[in-house]
Amino acid sequence: MPGLEFIDIRKSFGAVRALRGVSLAVREGETHALIGENGAGKSTLLKILAGIVSPDAGEIQLDDRRLSLSGPRDALAHGIGMVYQETVMFPNLTVAGNIFAGRELTGRGGVLLEREMRQRTRDLLARLHLALPPEARLEHLSAAHSQLVQVARALAFDCRVLVLDEPTTSLTAADADHLFRVLEDLRDRGVTILYVSHRLPEVFRLCQRMSVLRDGQHVGTYDRSAVTPDDIVRAMVGRDLPAREATTPPAGAKCVLRVRGLSRAPLVHNVDLDVAGGEVVGIFGLVGSGRSELLETIFGLHAADSGEIFVDDVRLARGSVRAATRAGVALVPEDRQRQALFFNLVLRHNLVLARAALGRSIVVRPTEERGFSTRLLETWRIKAPSVDVTPDKLSGGNQQKVVLARWLSIQPRVFLLDEPTKGVDVGAKDEIHTIVRQQAVAGAACVVVSSDLPEVLAVAHRIVVMREGRIQGELTAAQANEHTVMQLATAPVRRAS
């Protein structure tokens, strides 16, 4: 069969089985969606296709010929071009420099043919309807434009299969629209497109067929005409989503977290926020809207330029994590691997860290520490062989629960969570949501930042939408849906006069 075929691909990372035998076929010339929740295995499959990761078993065939990929160069040589979610490009180089990076056109003696590369860049950009000078440095371009430069880079070398990994995550609606038109144009010219996303509206607009992955397995491949978005969601999640509970904030609860006029250049502007004890507030916004920076500033990681933060009516010292944690503020950061876990330390040491930072004891008490951390594993049902292993032996969901348990051990008054279910499986996701609700019931003020809209809708009483560091508006759980939230998130910024 002409086209791209994955045959029984398997891959494990330590104890985590990322792909458990995935077989799926992409027909030549079609636009095919690859859908799945975070942690379903989409990224791993793409990395295997790009030659970055080699599979434990299975093979990839292109036009019935086995592809052996030993590196990113091989994928390109076979006409497979990748556009990554986070731009892996060179901000210090020009547009032309990026497009030809690593594959520069050279003349006799290895001299760079600058003029020719610029000309070819101009032609490529014209094909993509992009009015950009080839000499512009990438760092001066918008996120949307750099994304399109990646597409141009993939096309520069006769790519037959174009793979895009969640390309619209950081794009505005208008920019996304431009990208879709470019992709439709490419499809009409016979380019096979593999489009990875969990945004169903765009998938239904763009793709003829869609394959769903769940927990490292291929659930099914569907024709667009034969399914509804609800069918796809059910396939992604593996069950019917529970009807949203009647989520009304507890009446008459006292305000626990009060933020007034908080600013920190460049990403937080004059934010006011009140969260009552027992309330869960969801913060939604596109990448770069200042959501993480807001949480980090409340937690004291950055000193605010102006504004005040009160917890239980006590004002927090500016830019002091210590003051914040003493007041009961806890932050579960966005990237657990980079920002939360210590892979050189065993779980026991990882777990007691928050409590130790609060405590006045300067001595480590191993026996007490062991008992305390073992209890944490039990309480939060973290699957780990013992407290004496390092976090890399745990699955993503359990790693995330270690980070949660670390902060829950200080019994937070204000519980801030940044993308708490990124890259965890469906089961752990549910448990994490339950933990957040329990904390709220226990009287904590909870703030959940997530770009996963169903998650925000499921867990929050109230949704605050941010854009460019400002609060654009607020919706009650009843008012909020994909449409109203996205509208606020992408609407022009209302600047304070």
Binding site: G300, R322, P333, L341, F343, N344, L345, L353, A357, V363
Partner: protein, 322 residues
């Protein structure tokens, strides 16, 4: 006590095993053909090895702590020399008492450590550059003070001196062993030590956990420089010299000791006891090679090979353990 789980106990035990094997090997290789006097395995040679290894060993304790925190310190050799110059100069030329001269020598460590932490934390220089610069400045200060002279402490120190009832030659190993155990305890039983491992393992996560990076980094560079100055003062007293060109190139041997003892230059791993055992491995090697005719020319080469072999073995061990 189980400081950091399985891998660590294996790691320190394996460094000790290498040291013992090394001693056995040279004991066999240098076994005398006739007579009963063993040129290598005798108590006075053992003391000699311990005495000279201690100069590296004391400083290697600090180097290991810096490396565990994810940094690097190139200045200990220079600090050793300047401390010996200051102690020697004040004692011999300025007519200060011995105790104030020693304290002044240790002050060299305090000041150097503070300057280095200032460069790393406030000026935000990479530790390699900050300590490379500091190395030059500190070494240079020694030359400016001495102007090519050296201070001879030995003629002013009492003959057969037993400070606190311990013979002078015994002092370096006693100081090294005492400091090694003290810092092993500090790094594994105090929250501060835990924080040093955390910063070295994942600086961003340490920041997000509320650990004060500035405080931890200041303390590790301060400790490293103070231990180097201790080493310098001990050297000045035992060798009876204060000289600006003392301990030339020691910084690399000191780092090598820490690395052979299990410290990872990417931070987060290593131990103080391991670093001291590493210093002893090199001390034994040098001493034994000096007794094999012609082998001294191979000294540097063998040291280089040993560093690489031991670190490769360590990597294999860690992979197995993982």
């Amino acid at each position: 006590m189980r400081p950091l789980g399985r891998v660590w106990r294996i790691r320190e035990a394996s460094t000790l095993a290498i040291l013992l094997l090394e001693i056995l090997f040279f004991g066999w290789y240098l076994w005398p053909d006739s007579g009963t006097y063993h040129p290598f395995l005798n108590s006075s040679n053992a003391l000699l090895v311990l005495k000279y290894s201690s100069i590296y060993g004391i400083a290697a304790i600090g180097a290991a702590i810096v490396i565990i925190s994810g940094g690097i310190d190139l200045s200990p050799g220079a600090v050793i020399a300047l401390a010996s110059v200051v102690t020697g100069g004040l004692f011999v030329e300025a007519g200060w008492g011995l105790t104030p001269s020693i304290l002044a020598g240790l002050l060299v460590g305090v000041i150097s450590g503070l300057v280095i932490s200032l460069l790393v934390i406030v000026v935000q220089l990479p530790p390699f550059i900050a300590t490379l610069g500091a190395m030059g400045i500190i070494r240079g200060a020694g030359f400016i003070i001495t102007e090519g002279r050296y201070y001879d402490l030995s003629r002013l120190l009492p003959r057969g001196w037993h400070p606190l009832g311990i013979p002078l030659d015994w002092w370096p190993p006693v100081v090294m062993i005492a400091l090694a155990f003290a810092f092993q305890l500090i790094t594994h039983r105090l929250q501060w030590g835990r924080a040093v491992y955390a910063v070295g393992g994942n600086e961003t996560a340490a920041f997000f956990s509320g650990i004060s990076l500035g405080r931890i980094k200041t303390s590790v560079y301060l400790i490293s420089a103070i231990l180097a100055s201790v080493s310098g003062v001990v050297l000045a007293l035992v060798q009876g010299q204060g000289k600006a060109d003392l301990a030339m190139g020691y910084e690399l041997d000191i780092i090598a000791s820490a690395v052979v003892g299990g410290a990872s230059l990417s931070g987060g791993r290593g131990s103080v006891i391991g670093a001291v055992l590493g210093a002893l491995i090199f001390g034994v090697l040098r001493n034994a090679l000096a007794q094999i005719p012609g082998a001294t020319f191979y000294d540097r080469l063998i040291v280089g090979v040993v560093v690489i072999v031991i670190v490769v073995m360590d990597q294999i061990l860690v992979k197995r353990g993982a």
